[in-house]
């Protein structure tokens, strides 16, 4: 009797090997918590570094080793899809995360320590803060949070089930809310950023969740493959489904920072500690688009003709609004924030094509953008004044004189953003435009062309400031970082150039793996 009942319940299949990247990062996070619990704080930093970097390393190798053709499968009862794009996204996230981790670990730049508050609990400018700073304490909880976020992302981009998607979203977002608030300097802004990010993020995920719920109510399943079957088979009450799709779309578009759901981006990017910003602009963007791709290509692919026009509109708006507002920014960090918005728009252009090349194009763009942006933010951390980072553009005048290297690398990334050939940015733009035109969105491409012309202005203005103007007295100075940041910058520069000169390497890899499992 019992036996029969038990037999009706299938034993859940769980492919530990294939899921190992996610699990490892998750494990690392838990270990991190234990470290926080049991190690004296002077030992913690070292322990965390060991744990996190080994974990990332392991996870990455796990990805590389298993991402082969026979490593493509729906696992965990079809709730996680480890297909070509999934692997690639995971790999990218891990690499970008590694670079961000290097920035997190950097503690040579700021005389007071790393980029994070000594004690988040202390009042900004309060007595305790001074003490904590003097004692050289550090908020080492950032590390477990960081690991959680990564594991969330890894799951998010492979989630093949709306519920998993939601959980992954939260796992990746909640730590970020906290990290956003942990800046060592300008703490008021940092905390404000955290608050805004949190409230809006919560709102967005609620919307996403409700969308999922409606989808479930309509199709009777949460698993993407079945959802699309449900959609194509069912025929009743499309209104419900429409609402569902719209809500899910909003939840995702919020994460990618598409207009009109973008307004959190500038504030949060500006307020957060720069390493976190780079992490958000790099890894989170990749993750968010990864999720978006999968949901809309796999689950809602059947309805492409319905949602594509809207994506076109959103993409156009995002490119134009992002670029235009960025034009007026006087703060480098904020400018990059808007630039990240407009880049999101360009990615959406590629995304809207919904074809195999489109997937490849989006992935390439994500890689190109993620590395370039991490590099740019990393460089920003080196340009300082007594009060901390100097991100007021006008003060960068004549930086090229003080440090040709930093200014030169910065120019490289700016040119890449502007999409000048022989940099990764061009390869990326070429890819998405090609995809879009093949998808018949020529008009959208023209909008994109205009947008990138506008965008070029503020990227190039940075170069002009750094190289073509005389330095101002008591302007910012450039500090020499430790090996950590150096590696991060070098890596991003190399990727930017390689992708520009010999894109074929990456293109082959990606276009061979740009099919979603369903």
């Amino acid at each position: 009797m019992i036996q029969t009942v038990l037999n009706t319940i299938p034993t859940p299949s769980f492919e530990y090997a294939l899921l190992s990247p996610i699990l490892v990062m998750f494990l690392a996070a838990c270990l991190g918590v234990l470290v926080e619990a049991f190690l004296p704080h002077e030992k913690r930093r070292f322990a965390h570094l060991i744990i996190v970097f080994t974990a990332i390393l392991f996870a990455f190798f796990a990805v590389v080793l298993q991402s082969g053709p026979n490593g493509r499968a729906l696992v965990a009862n079809g709730t996680v899809a480890l297909d070509g794009p999934g692997w690639i996204l995971q790999g990218t996230i891990l690499l970008v995360a590694a670079l961000s981790a290097l920035l997190f670990a950097e503690s040579k730049i700021d005389p007071l320590g790393d980029a994070f508050a000594a004690r988040a609990s202390t009042l900004p400018g309060g007595e305790e803060e001074k003490i904590a700073t003097k004692l050289g304490w550090a908020q080492t909880e950032i590390w477990p949070l960081f690991s959680f976020a990564i594991s969330g992302m890894l799951l998010f981009v492979t989630a093949n089930d709306l519920l998993v998607l939601f959980v992954a979203l939260e796992v990746m977002s909640l730590p970020l809310y906290l990290l956003a608030g942990l800046a060592r300097r300008r703490r008021l802004l940092s905390q404000e950023a955290a608050l805004k990010y949190f409230i809006l993020g919560a709102l967005a995920s609620a919307i996403l969740l409700f969308g999922s719920a409606l989808t479930y109510a309509y199709t009777g399943s949460l698993e993407f493959g079945q959802i699309s079957n449900g959609i194509s088979s069912a025929n009743n009450s499309p209104g419900l489904l429409t609402a569902a799709i719209a809500l899910v779309a909003v939840g995702m578009l919020f994460k990618v920072g598409a207009v009109p759901f973008h307004q959190w981006v500038p504030d949060v990017y500006t307020g957060s500690p720069t390493p976190v910003t780079s992490f958000m602009a790099g890894a989170v963007k990749v993750a968010a688009f990864g999720g978006l791709l999968r949901v809309f290509y796999v689950a809602f692919g059947a309805l492409v003709w319905d949602w594509r026009p809207l994506i076109w509109v959103v993409a156009g708006l995002t490119m134009v609004v992002g670029s235009v507002i960025a034009l007026a920014q006087s703060d480098f960090k904020r400018m990059l924030a808007y630039s990240s918005v407009s880049n999101g728009g360009f990615i959406l252009v590629g995304f809207s094509a919904t074809s195999r090349p489109a997937i490849a194009a989006v992935l390439i763009y994500l890689i190109a953008y993620a590395f370039a942006t991490v590099g740019a933010f990393a460089l920003l951390t080196l340009i300082r004044e007594q009060a901390g980072e100097s991100s007021t553009l006008i003060r960068w005048k004549g930086l090229g004189k003080k440090s040709p290297l930093v200014a030169g690398l910065m120019s490289l990334f700016m040119l890449s953003f502007a999409g000048i050939p022989l940099t990764s940015g061009f390869t990326a733009k070429f890819g998405v435009f090609t995809a879009a035109i093949s998808g018949g969105a020529t008009a959208l491409v023209l909008v994109g062309v205009i947008a990138s012309a506008i965008a070029a202005v503020f990227y190039i203005r940075v170069i002009i400031l750094m190289f073509f103007s005389e330095p101002i007295p008591e302007g910012p100075f450039v500090v020499v970082p430790s090996i950590f940041t150096t590696i991060a910058i070098t890596a991003s520069a190399v990727v930017t150039i390689i992708l520009g000169l010999f894109p074929q390497v990456v293109i082959d890899l990606i276009s061979s793996a740009s099919v979603f499992l369903r």
């Binding site: 000048i420 190039i460 190289f467 073509f468």
Partner: protein
């Protein structure tokens, strides 16, 4: 694949650039020497190539070098030599060492950087003229902006930042539109030829576009080329840039790089979009004629020497474009010669005037007067360059202008007549400038001008020599470009009009 001459030509300046940054204890030469020698070696290679170039061959390109670059899009790194590109490569190879020699230590502090950018400019110019893959062409077309951008912005006058920005934005605007057209063209090719290709030869020989698509694609490319060339009304970046840039930069930019615009029209627009070219030709010819007169008139009114040159160039680019779209062998070959002549005269004007301006750090015409008293040699060289640029017979400029006008006159009477008016205006702008700067009573500024030294004269004398040579013996250029032009004519399906009255056999 035979010996990759073109690749070597292309690499030489790049190697030179690298050598610049090798610590001095490893290389025996000064930066100046490294740059100069590498450019001279390039020239040597180009001469070698020119000697091997087979003018009778029917092949579209020679010395082809081709590697796969981005196979998924059928993109190859394909260098090839047509007659026209040989001419322009030659121009590049000749002008660069002259610029390097003439502007020696033009910038005291950042000399190394200056040389680097000049060499990179040369490399990109060579690459763009040699590219036989449209994608490669586009990439260089855009990348080309960077060296000039830095040359202008780093070494220019007080307003150089703004000028540099304006320059690069115009460049990007054109380039991005071209990019859209490029991608569109790619898909047309994919759908029609069943394979993605950017090979200029393939596109021009195999592609059959429907009228509507062809028109739009043509316009997309033409927009970019017209901004680069520059044609009115897209010309306003040139005066600002020329005013701020150093003479060396201006020479590289106006003398060489701007030719990419006209080269593009001749080597890309016409072969790939023949019907649209024919269709739009009257309009373009009209604009060209307008630009010729407009540029000349505005040039007369300028108060600044460099700006004057800029507007003169605008007028001259009008001639070049006119010749190209006249669709007559005479006109097109005339344009090719015109590109060379304009390159030489522009170099002469900017470099000689450059010596003057650099000494006073001021390019206002009103500043100078009676310079010839202090600097007769400078005056003489300037006059020669100026006379060539106003197409005085016996100078390269004359042959070019006459052929362009005749070619155009064969098919478009009125525009040709309007353009011919420019010979009067040319006399006015050039001689009036000459009169105000070099003759008349000597002003305080120009009293202590130092005349050119031996090295500077040596640097400029090749310009004079070539100007006169091509004035009296243009055959080399004609012969080299003939077959390519003929090929283009057949692609476009244009024929040379016959004389109205059958010609009586010449004795």
């Amino acid at each position: 694949m035979n010996f990759p001459w073109l690749l070597i030509v292309l690499l030489t300046p790049l190697i030179g650039t690298v050598l610049l940054f090798i610590p001095k204890r490893f290389v025996a030469f000064s930066d100046q020497q490294i740059a100069l020698y590498s450019s001279l070696i390039t020239l040597l290679f180009v001469i070698v190539i020119a000697l091997q170039f087979d003018i009778s061959s029917s092949a579209t390109t020679q010395f082809d070098v081709s590697f796969d670059w981005i196979p998924v899009f059928g993109i190859t790194f394909h260098l090839g030599l047509t007659g026209i590109s040989l001419v322009l490569v030659g121009l590049t190879a000749v002008l660069t060492p002259i610029v390097l020699l003439a502007t020696e230590y033009e910038v005291q502090k950042k000399n190394k950087e200056f040389l680097m950018w000049i060499l990179l400019t040369q490399a990109s110019a060579l690459a763009v003229f040699l590219a036989r893959d449209l994608f490669l062409f586009y990439v260089v077309f855009e990348a080309m902006l960077i060296p000039i951008f830095f040359l202008v912005g780093r070494f220019g006058g007080p307003k150089r930042g703004a000028a540099a920005l304006k320059f690069i934005l115009f460049g990007l605007a054109g380039g991005l539109v071209m990019l859209a057209a490029l991608i569109w063209l790619y898909f047309v090719a994919v759908n029609q030829l069943g394979r993605g290709t950017f090979s200029i030869t393939a596109l021009s020989n195999e592609l059959k576009l429907d009228a509507w698509t062809e028109r739009w694609l043509f316009l997309g490319f033409f927009f970019a080329f017209a901004l680069k060339a520059p044609m009115i009304p897209g010309h306003t970046w040139l005066p600002d840039t020329a005013e701020q840039a150093t003479p060396g930069t201006s020479t590289m930019l106006i003398g060489i790089l701007d030719k990419v615009g006209t080269y593009g029209m001749l080597a890309i627009l016409l072969p790939i979009f023949p019907n649209a070219s024919i269709e739009f030709a009257p309009v373009i010819i009209g604009f060209a004629a307008l630009g010729i007169i407009y540029g000349a008139l505005v040039a007369i009114a300028q108060k600044n020497i460099k700006r004057t040159f800029a507007y003169i160039s605008i007028s001259h680019f009008g001639f070049i474009v006119m010749g190209i779209f006249s669709f007559t062998s005479i006109g097109m070959i005339g344009s090719v010669i015109y590109m060379v002549a304009h390159g030489l005269s522009t170099a002469g004007l900017f470099l000689t005037a450059g010596y003057l301006i650099r000494q006073k750090d001021n390019s206002l015409i009103s500043n100078f007067g009676g310079v010839t008293k202090a600097a007769p040699v400078m005056t003489g060289l300037f006059l020669i360059a100026g006379l060539s640029s106003i197409a005085l017979p016996g100078m390269a400029g004359f042959v070019a202008e006459f052929m362009v006008l005749t070619g155009t006159f064969q098919k478009y009477k009125i525009p040709a007549i309007i353009a011919t008016l420019a010979i009067v205006l040319a006399a006015i702008y050039m001689l009036w400038l000459y009169q105000r700067v070099f003759t008349g009573t000597e002003t305080k500024e120009s009293s202590n001008i130092i005349d050119l030294n031996k090295k500077q004269i040596l640097a400029l004398s090749p310009l004079v020599a070539l100007t006169l040579l091509f004035g009296f013996y243009p055959a080399p250029i004609i012969k080299i470009s003939e077959s390519t032009i003929a090929h283009t004519m057949t692609l476009v399906g244009a024929t040379d009009p016959q004389p109205m009255i059958r010609k009586v056999v010449n004795q």
